[in-house]
């Protein structure tokens, strides 16, 4: 496997070097082997699909990538560096964002607030500054809000910006989850069953967003 060279696809897209590499991953829960000796890589600018029947270990694999599970065997390389066992929030800081198969949003909060949580890893203002809303906290909020607004514009969810998530239909919740993941400006985006339970129209929309994201390499 060559790590550095990219290639050009039939339709003229340039695929860059390897971003993430999984080598001989094996994951066991007690006596059950969920993943056995899996090796694959993910390159810049490409969509890598993991497919399989129920219980094949797709979600487990994503959980390994995002650092939820630590595999018993094998190595994970992120941007050329071997990754030691890490906490999920550290993975998030490294630039990996994900969505969940069973939507994991803050139901009582508005869409905008949910999307803003995607920016939390980038915020450094202290609790006091946040509480009195002066200086750094205010400036940070404005900067981060702008990034979130770009995501909201991209995903065409302006009309539900202030709506509590609990009031949204399933398809839109999925889109809000994607928005939150995008707000963190990830290098690697993990989508766990992004279209499960959607109708045709919602699926078409979601495919369009994913495709456009890839075409623009995440530059909204």
């Amino acid at each position: 496997m060559n790590n550095s060279d990219g290639y050009v696809t039939d339709d003229g897209r340039t695929i860059g070097g390897v971003v993430m590499e999984m080598k001989n991953i094996t994951l066991r829960f007690g006596g059950v082997t969920a993943i056995k000796d899996i090796t694959f890589d993910i390159r810049e600018g490409e969509i890598r699909a993991i497919i399989g029947p129920n219980g094949a270990g797709k979600s487990s694999m994503l959980n390994v990538v995002s650092g939820f599970y630590v595999p018993q065997e094998g190595e994970v390389f992120f941007r050329g560096v071997k990754r030691p066992p890490v906490k999920p929030f550290e993975v998030a800081r490294q630039g990996i964002a994900r969505t969940f198969q069973n939507i994991a949003l803050f139901e009582g909060m508005s869409v905008l607030d949910n999307v803003m949580t995607g920016r939390l890893t980038q915020m450094t203002a202290g609790i006091l500054s946040q509480a009195i809303w002066r200086g750094k906290a205010e400036q940070e909020e404005v900067e981060n809000r702008e990034i979130c607004e770009r995501v909201i514009d991209f995903l065409e969810i302006q009309s539900i910006r202030k709506t509590p998530v609990s009031r949204l239909p399933y398809g839109l919740k999925k889109r809000v989850e994607l928005a939150r993941a995008l707000a963190s400006e990830p290098k690697l985006l993990l989508l766990d069953e992004p279209m499960a339970g959607m109708n045709v129209e919602e699926k078409e929309d979601m495919s369009r967003f994913i495709w456009m994201l890839m075409m623009s390499l995440g530059q909204l």
Binding site: E146, E149, D153, E156, Q158, S159, R161, M215, S216
Partner: protein
């Protein structure tokens, strides 16, 4: 008008008005648009700068005087500014309906030979690229929103920003060219070309001169005292004459601010945030808003519902009179004031209509109940009557003389007469120059003296001088027994029920009338939800026995009301069916302004009409439908045909 003192005589074109406004109003807001969650403002001077840069950029691209430039997209300040810039460069803007499918666009773009296109986004760019091989005159396209266009072939594509940038950096040559072209504009130069929606046949390109637009703007701004401090929300299609007059003509003349919503879905929020003082909506929008209010009131708690009903009942009695400044008892006024605190005020605020000083509705007849509802809340909603060929205004209602059944008195400067066969003719400063490349139609519509046939039948009320419109002259005909057949009269009555979105009545030359009904999905869907009726599709809901029962009761109520009118008693609906699909502009059944195309519907659903007349109780049918992206599909259904009770004229007389 004070602000127009500055050499008012030289105000002969939109660019001249823009320059005047940039001098007189400078930093005050000309346009606003919500983007990324914040209202962004264009001052008059910024608007002028952008228009100049864009005009120069267009000259660099090779635009020539007399060229046509199509504008495709939703209402955005940049697109309004481009219309002025195009005129500066000596060309003519041709705004298009943004939801037209590629085929429809092809006809119009080929007809006017548009050399340039300004497109809002990828969707519009795609449509033009799809048909470009059939557009020999097409040369360059400018896009506003570049999302998704990165990998496109950019030999004919330019971003709006880059064209403006090129214009800014252009040399002296282009600048003097621009100056010459702008100076060459006169009152008779073409200001804009707008295509009629085409209720019958192909759309026609209506050429309107600067004089048409500016004279109309001048008189109508005076009529309603529109000022620089007014605010409007521009959300109706840019291709429609109304939007051009309100958002360009009147806005440029009086200097008020045009606000563009963030997207079609956010309109209600944006309306609330802006609080327009001058508002226009076709009856359909008011109907939908009212349906929405009623649905939400049905879902509300018992106390709130009671409060709403109680005060709305009071408003119905006195609200309109208070608005018209008529005498109303002191107690009633106090009660109305309380109602305003508890119901009317908050409701108007929710609808975004709190600050409306002048509101208009036109395009079709509005239901008297709907019209009264808004007026009783204290919203100064009025009616006007007009058409593209007249630069909108033919008649309008002055404050204090507002009624549901008339369309008002002739607008200042407009002469109206009724011909012997009842058709309305007018002559006005706004009368169009010609139909582009269509002298026959021009001659048919406009006589050498300048009188224009509207195609509508109407009469003046003797005591008030108000004009009343009966129906489209072409639609009014006779039934087999010789009695009058006025389908729209009956259809409007049917449409006033929230459950009925659209209806088409047939009966010309027949012995009795039959009707197609379209249910309103939001109203009927909500009713189904409250009554635990499950449905999986529009079609299933439309065919539900209980829905048919409800519709039948509506039809029978309408029959009873129609029967009271001696002249039109023959128009009672004997049999009807509920259509399995919504009538749609994409399928050619409605115009882009959502008017029914009777003839096309009659041809397309001939089998259904036959079934309505041959007495069968159900019919199987297959219909071709067009999806929004232009693909075609087929839907089939078995429709139930219902008989409705009709009333005999003699019985009513006996009662």
């Amino acid at each position: 008008m004070a602000q127009s003192d500055m050499d008012a005589t030289n105000m002969v074109s939109l660019p001249a008005l823009l320059r005047r406004n940039a001098v007189n109003f400078g930093s005050s807001a000309a346009f606003r648009e919500k983007e990324f969650g914040i209202w962004q403002t264009w001052s008059w001077s910024k608007a002028l700068n952008e228009a100049e840069s864009l005009a120069l950029g267009l000259i660099e691209l090779g635009i020539q005087p007399g060229d046509f430039v199509a504008i495709l997209g939703r209402n955005r300040p940049d697109l309004y500014i481009s219309m002025v810039a195009i005129q500066m460069a000596g060309a003519t803007p041709v705004p298009q309906y943004q939801d037209s499918v590629a085929e429809e666009m092809e006809y119009v773009l080929a007809h006017c030979g548009a050399k340039f296109v300004v497109a809002g986004d990828q969707e519009q760019v795609d449509k033009v690229l799809e048909i470009q091989s059939n557009l020999p005159d097409f040369e360059q396209m400018i896009y506003l929103d570049g999302r998704g266009l990165r990998k496109y072939d950019h030999s004919k594509l330019h971003s709006f920003a880059s064209v403006m940038e090129n214009g800014k950096n252009s040399g002296q040559n282009s600048k003097s060219t621009l100056k010459d072209r702008e100076n060459a504009l006169t009152y008779d130069s073409t200001c804009v070309m707008l295509y009629t929606s085409g209720t019958t046949g192909r759309p026609k390109g209506v050429v309107l001169s600067n004089a048409n637009i500016i004279e109309t703007a001048k008189t109508t701004c005076e009529f309603d005292d529109l000022k620089k401090t007014d605010e409007i929300v521009a959300y109706l299609p840019m291709a429609w004459i109304g939007d051009f007059i309100f958002s360009v003509g009147q806005a440029m003349w009086s200097g008020f601010c045009v606000n563009c919503p963030e997207s079609a879905d956010t309109l209600s929020t944006d309306l609330r945030e802006i609080g327009p003082t001058y508002y226009f909506a076709p009856p359909r929008v008011f109907e939908m808003q009212l349906t929405d209010v009623m649905i939400r009131m049905e879902d509300s708690g018992r106390f709130k519902k009671w409060l709403f009903d109680y005060f709305m009942e009071h408003a119905r009695h006195v609200g309109g009179n208070i608005l018209d400044g008529k005498s109303v008892g002191f107690g009633s006024r106090i009660k109305y004031f309380l109602g305003d605190l508890a119901v009317y005020g908050p409701l108007k605020n929710t609808l975004g209509l709190s600050k409306v000083r002048v509101g208009y509705t036109a395009g079709e007849a509005i239901g008297p109940e709907i019209f009264e509802f808004y007026r009783s809340l204290g919203i100064n909603l009025k009616q006007l009557y007009g058409q593209t060929e007249a630069s909108v205004y033919i008649t309008q209602q002055p404050d204090g003389e507002v009624r549901g059944d008339t369309v008002g008195v002739p607008t200042p400067g407009v002469e109206v007469r009724i011909s012997d066969n009842g058709e309305v003719y007018y002559k006005s400063p706004g009368t169009f120059v010609e139909y582009y490349k269509n002298p026959e139609s021009t001659a048919e519509t406009k006589d050498p003296e300048g009188w224009v046939a509207t195609g509508d039948a109407g009469f003046f009320e003797e005591d008030t001088g108000h004009l009343r419109i009966i129906d489209r002259a072409k639609d009014v005909s006779k039934m087999s027994d010789g009695s009058m057949f006025a389908p729209k009269y009956v259809e409007n009555k049917l449409k006033f029920y929230p459950n009925i979105l659209e209806s088409v009545v047939f009966g010309a030359g027949k012995d009795r009338c039959v009707a197609f009904i379209n249910i309103d999905l939001s109203a009927v869907g909500n009713w189904a939800e409250r009554n635990n009726i499950a449905y999986s599709s529009y079609q299933e809901l439309a065919g539900h026995p209980k829905v048919l029962e409800t519709i039948q009761s509506h039809v029978e109520e309408v029959n009873a009301s129609v029967a009271k009118d001696k002249m039109l008693a023959g128009c009672q609906v004997h049999r009807f069916l509920v259509l399995h699909k919504e009538l749609d502009a994409d399928d050619g059944e409605l115009t882009r302004t959502r008017k029914v195309r009777r003839k096309i519907i009659a041809e397309k659903f001939e089998d259904l009409i036959n079934a309505l007349y041959d007495g069968s109780s159900s019919i199987y049918t297959e219909t071709e439908v067009t999806y929004e992206d232009g693909r075609k599909g087929k839907i089939s259904a078995t429709l139930q045909i219902k008989d409705a009770t009709t009333n005999n004229l003699a019985d009513i007389a006996a009662q």
